[in-house]
């Protein structure tokens, strides 16, 4: 299963522990170096998908600063999916870098 960058970074945001929706948006932005800016619509569409695929689980709702929140936790399946995607990206990167180096023309 291939994870697209928004899902990849949203799930990666949960590696260090459970986070609520807005915290995921911020953490995914930091982890991606600002390249992934999740909108609320994208976030909840991908969270629903990840929930149905059991990559994450949702906690009970609670109130924080007058907002209703809910924490999401990465499951074992979610970690495996992230690991598989990270290896895929690393392997794809190695292949391209290797070919670029091999065909490098000395300046």
């Amino acid at each position: 299963m291939e994870l697209r960058p928004p899902s990849y970074f949203a799930l990666a945001a949960l590696i260090d522990g459970p986070l609520h929706g807005y915290a995921i948006v911020r953490r995914a932005g930091v982890l991606s170096g600002g390249t992934v800016r999740l909108s609320t619509g994208t976030l909840y569409a991908l969270l629903e998908r990840a929930l149905s695929e059991r990559l994450i689980v949702a906690g009970e709702p609670y109130i924080e600063s007058g907002r209703q929140r809910r924490d999401y936790t990465l499951t074992w399946e979610g970690r495996s999916a992230l690991e598989a995607e990270a290896s895929r990206l690393a392997s794809a990167s190695r292949t391209v870098v290797g070919r670029l180096r091999a065909t490098e023309v000395p300046a």
Binding site: G21, S39, T40, G41, T42, R67, R70
Partner: protein
């Protein structure tokens, strides 16, 4: 209209159940993410509607309870064909050289054709053929009421295969499952205690179905239907031969388990697509 109200209006793009459980949480996240910028708020609103429609599209693609139950009946139909073929192969071996009539061979060929069709992906053909086999059986033998009842569940399964077949890609190589089916019949061989060997695959399938029950109840429905059929057939045979129907309590238990499993499936439609 306040920004919160407008966001709640945009939430209408989401399915009702999700709105009820996470509506406030989504609105809260949207307001946090927009900060004080009107442009960011407008972008968030548009994305919220898009996200809601995406969730709706995916939810609509999920199989409903009816589809899951129908698939369960179809799987049970396939299981009944496997057991029927294995039993008849054993019977044929036993009767070899002792005046085995041609009708048994023809019945075996018809059932093998049905099973191949179902395995490859032609449930309608399999269901029609299997119903025909029941009709031939009924015409040939005088059934007691209970024996006739024992055919009711298989008939229902085959009728579902004919009317609401499984949606699956056609794969000719799956017909190879006929080989272990025939091998099972040869191993079980005829009447006697070894006949029960044909039920050996259930020892693997039933625990698997129970493990998968919460995620995918189709196999559990199939097992419940198969078990109920076997229990009724056993009871009918025991009653006819005049022995104590030890299967009767089991039959009642399994007949109770079947609707319970189906009700469970109906209550909890599974999010996975069939054959995904």
């Amino acid at each position: 209209m306040t920004s919160k109200r407008l966001a709640r209006l945009a939430l209408l793009a989401y399915p009702r159940a999700l709105r009820a459980s996470k509506g406030e949480e989504i609105v809260g996240t949207l307001l946090d993410a927009s900060g004080t910028s009107n442009a960011a708020y407008a972008r968030e609103l548009v994305a919220l509607i898009g996200g809601g429609l995406r969730v709706r599209a995916r939810t609509a693609g999920r199989p409903g309870a009816m589809r899951l139950i129908a698939d369960g009946f179809c799987y049970a139909g396939v299981g009944m064909l496997v057991l029927n073929i294995a039993l008849r192969v054993g019977e044929r071996l036993e009767l070899r050289g002792a005046g085995a009539d041609a009708s048994l061979m023809w019945m075996l060929l018809l059932l093998a054709g049905c099973l191949s069709a179902a395995l490859i992906g032609y449930d309608r053909i399999a269901g029609a053929g299997a119903l025909l086999s029941i009709a031939i059986n009924a015409a040939q033998a005088q059934f007691t009421d209970l024996q006739a009842a024992a055919w009711a569940v298989p008939a229902a399964c085959f009728a579902v295969m004919l009317v609401i077949p499984r949606r699956q890609p056609r794969r000719i190589h799956r017909a190879a499952w006929l080989i272990p089916t025939v091998a099972l019949g040869i191993a079980a061989g005829g009447r006697g205690p070894s006949t029960y060997l044909v039920l050996a695959p259930l020892a693997v399938v039933v625990p698997l179905a129970l493990v998968r029950l919460a995620r995918d109840p189709r196999l559990a429905i199939a097992c419940a239907l198969l078990a109920a059929t076997i229990a009724v057939a056993e009871t009918a045979d025991a009653l006819q031969s005049g022995s104590m129907p030890i299967g009767l309590p089991l039959t009642i238990l399994l007949f109770t388990a079947t609707p319970l499993t189906i009700a469970f499936a109906a209550r909890r439609p599974h999010p996975q697509r069939p054959d995904s």
